[in-house]
């Protein structure tokens, strides 16, 4: 049960049910030979259209279901499983409904929007599968906050070290080392995704460390250690931010496209009956 994901829920029950249903629908589609060829307006076409529309409505309902926290007959995982596999099935059901007639019109727009919804959902589901194990318990973004505080604290330690060395005398070469290993940290979502903080360049740091006066060398080592820690924490923060972003951003396509799809679907249904 603990190995059960929303894909494999109850031994892939929803995958099997959808596969059987879609196979049946394909078979009937192939057998059916309506006058004028298959289209959305034949008896079978209309039937599949109703099935498709009901499917879309059921999938949309998941947005409401996922916020129902009181106990139900169904589990959220089970509902998500049904949601995902029905979504994939619609990729086949809707072209069958249309008789594979596509064009530059609002009817195909509905299909394109639906496909984009499904693809964004696939992206989200896939990344959830990949990244969910890497999320550490962070309840409400506390993890990034904690890490930021750590970086702040390390920064303060580095400052203290610099002041300490300056107080004792000439700190020009020490400041050089500081400039080499320390960095002004300005985190952003973009950087977390595409421009991660690099690891410490040990070669230059070693050279500069060797050039320090013997009295400052201990401080220098401590500095390098602090800077290294700062980078580690920064990278951890960025990894966390990237993970959390990827787990959330796809929804900003998935949901608005769904709403647009519902409007396009409504227009599609009304217009085909308006101009029968």
């Amino acid at each position: 049960m603990s190995e059960d994901t929303f894909f494999s829920y109850k031994n892939y029950r929803w995958l099997w049910l959808n596969t059987i249903a879609v196979t049946l629908m394909i078979a009937i589609y192939l057998i059916d030979r309506p006058l004028g060829g298959p289209s959305g307006g034949t008896i079978l076409g209309l039937t599949y259209g109703v099935i498709g529309a009901l499917g879309i409505l059921y999938l949309t309902w998941f947005g409401i279901r996922k916020r129902s926290y009181h106990a139900q007959q169904t589990t959220l995982k089970g509902c998500l499983s049904a949601h995902v596999w029905l979504g994939l099935a619609l990729l086949i059901i809707v072209p069958l409904h249309a008789g594979f007639q596509f064009g530059w019109n609002v009817h195909s727009l509905a299909f394109v929007l639906m496909t984009l919804v499904i693809l964004s959902g696939l992206w989200g589901a896939r990344h959830y599968q990949l990244l969910a194990p890497t999320i550490r318990s962070h309840r409400g973004g506390a993890q990034p906050l904690k890490l930021l505080e750590q970086i702040e604290s390390i920064g303060q330690d580095i400052e203290a070290k610099v002041k300490e060395v300056e107080a004792r005398g000439d700190s020009a070469s020490f400041n050089q080392l500081v400039a080499e290993v320390d960095f002004d940290y300005k985190p952003s979502i973009w950087k977390s995704l595409f421009d991660r903080t690099p690891e410490l360049e040990s070669e230059n740091a070693s050279k500069l460390l060797a050039g320090l006066q013997p009295a400052q060398q201990e401080a220098g080592l401590a500095l390098i250690s602090l800077a290294d820690k700062k980078r580690d924490v920064a990278r951890e923060l960025e990894a966390d931010v990237a993970t959390l972003t990827k787990l959330r951003v796809w929804l900003y396509l998935h949901v608005p496209l769904t709403i647009a799809l519902l409007i396009a679907l409504l227009i599609h249904i009304l217009s085909v009956f308006y101009y029968r």
């Binding site: 006058l35 007639q101 064009g103 019109n105 409400g140 930021l148 702040e152 979502i189 217009s271 029968r276």
Partner: protein, 462 residues
């Protein structure tokens, strides 16, 4: 959240918030509203109020209807209603498929009262479905015709590969009777009763023509018409007269009677003899008893006896004599069924009518009237490939129309056919529509005709 919301957020807390993508982007609700609004306006309101709702069209319009493509109301006259027949009949007038389906049939099969839109599908693109060639359109009834129409007798047709034997329309044996449809398999009743006499065998052998011996070809008499589909009607003047002249007197070998109307023939004879007796003394002389043969010299004036002057009786006598020769011996009876006129003899005498009648031949122009056949499309074939019986046919009654198996040597409904000369090789794809049409076009009533502008803007006219 693990934070106390009440206290003022420090810079780190603000930074943490900026790293949360849910705060960096506009809310889901706002984005959804934007997308929905765009779709609603661009694809909902705009097409609804536009005169040309392009994005609502379910597919491109066929080529034939392009000039009304931007006028949806030309066909979709009522919102939420199917395209009505009245919209189509605005421009198209067609015969129904067959005589009115009986009320019992319609009660049993309401789909018999089909509308135009049941079989003609628009918005399927240029080649689309406006005229669909799917044989199931026809076989849905014709595969089991009695099931579809109880009071109809006729063969079942499942496909061209199982097409019943052709039945030709033949003239009735007795003039005034009804034309009959006889199957080409029905050797007992199959006869060409055209009231004409023609022996193909003789005509295709080596025969004597106006300029010496000749072997006629099929196309010597049967020529492709200007429409490149039908064969021109046999015409005596064009096809026969050069070998069968209607001369009536060896004394004037170039003079012929007109062909066609018996009364006109007699009138022409009378006029000729009147003219000749009045103006040409030599012509008065009676004919020698001996018939002149080709090569004999014409009798000279001294060899003949002048009998007397011009008189109506003499002209009448000569004309009637020539008429008799023509009808009963030398000309008409060779090809026609001749009988004595049924008109009152007194009337014949006073009005100068013909003493003979020719039964009007009823040579069919269209042996298989329910089908369309193009001889032009079959130009590469020799005539005898399909009309194999012609060279050996000695009787007019022979029907020389090819049977269905002859067509099936080249035509099949999809793939190889039952009589393919090359077994397994696919043949000319032949669906029902290739030879049969469901409707025939009819002329539109004058009041329905309109100007070019009106057609292009699909104005409804009456």
């Amino acid at each position: 959240m693990g934070e106390d919301r009440k206290h003022v957020e420090g810079p780190i807390e603000q930074l943490a918030k900026r790293l949360d993508v849910r705060r960096a982007l506009p809310s889901l609700a706002k984005i959804s509203l934007l997308f929905a609004g765009l779709v609603l306006i661009l694809f909902g309101f705009w097409p609804f109020f536009s005169p040309k709702p392009v994005s609502w069209s379910s597919g491109p319009i066929s080529h034939s209807h392009q000039m009304i493509a931007s006028n949806c109301r030309a066909c979709h006259q009522e919102p939420f209603a199917r395209v009505q027949d009245a919209a189509c009949l605005n421009c198209h007038s067609l015969t129904p498929h067959t005589k009115q389906f009986s009320p019992q049939n319609i009660a049993a099969h309401p789909s018999l009262q089909s509308s135009c839109a049941d079989c003609h599908f628009e918005h399927r693109g240029p080649g689309g479905g406006l005229i669909t060639r799917d044989p199931s359109m026809c076989t849905s009834c014709h595969a089991n015709i009695k099931h579809a129409l109880q009071d109809v007798s006729g063969p079942n047709v499942r496909s061209f590969n199982e097409h019943p034997q052709f039945a030709v329309l033949v003239a009735p044996a007795n003039p005034g009777g009804t034309t009959l449809k006889i199957s080409l398999n029905d050797s007992k009743n199959l006869a060409d009763n055209s009231h004409i006499k023609l022996n193909h065998h003789i005509h295709l052998a080596r025969i004597r023509g106006p300029e010496g011996e000749v072997t006629l070809k099929c196309t010597s008499c049967h020529q492709l018409a200007a429409d490149f589909r039908s064969i021109k009607k046999i015409d005596f003047k064009t096809n026969c007269q050069s070998c069968h002249p209607l001369t009536y007197d060896e004394r004037f070998p170039d003079r012929e009677v007109p062909h066609g109307n018996a009364n006109q023939v007699f009138a022409a004879l009378f006029a000729e003899y009147a003219r000749l007796f009045a103006f040409d003394r030599a012509a008065e002389a009676p004919l020698d008893d001996r018939r002149l043969k080709p090569g004999d010299p014409l009798p000279s004036v001294s060899q003949t006896k002048a009998l007397g002057g011009f008189s109506q009786e003499r002209v009448e006598q000569a004309a009637r004599s020539a008429e008799k020769e023509l009808y009963t011996r030398t000309a008409c009876k060779l090809c026609h069924e001749v009988r004595e006129s049924t008109v009152d003899p007194e009337e014949i005498a006073t009005k100068g009518l013909s003493r003979y009648e020719v039964i009007k031949p009823q040579i069919p122009e269209h042996w298989l009237p329910a089908s369309t056949f193009s001889h032009g499309a079959h130009e590469p074939l020799r005539c005898i490939e399909c009309h194999a019986g012609a060279p050996d046919s000695k009787k007019t009654a022979d029907v020389l129309i090819p049977k269905v198996a002859d067509c099936q040597k080249c035509h099949a409904q999809g793939g190889p056919g039952p009589h393919s000369p090359k077994p397994g090789a696919p043949l000319v794809h032949s669906d029902c529509i290739l030879c049969h049409s469901y409707h025939e076009p009819k002329a539109l009533a004058e009041v329905q005709k309109r100007s070019i502008d009106q057609v292009l803007s699909a104005v409804k006219v009456n």
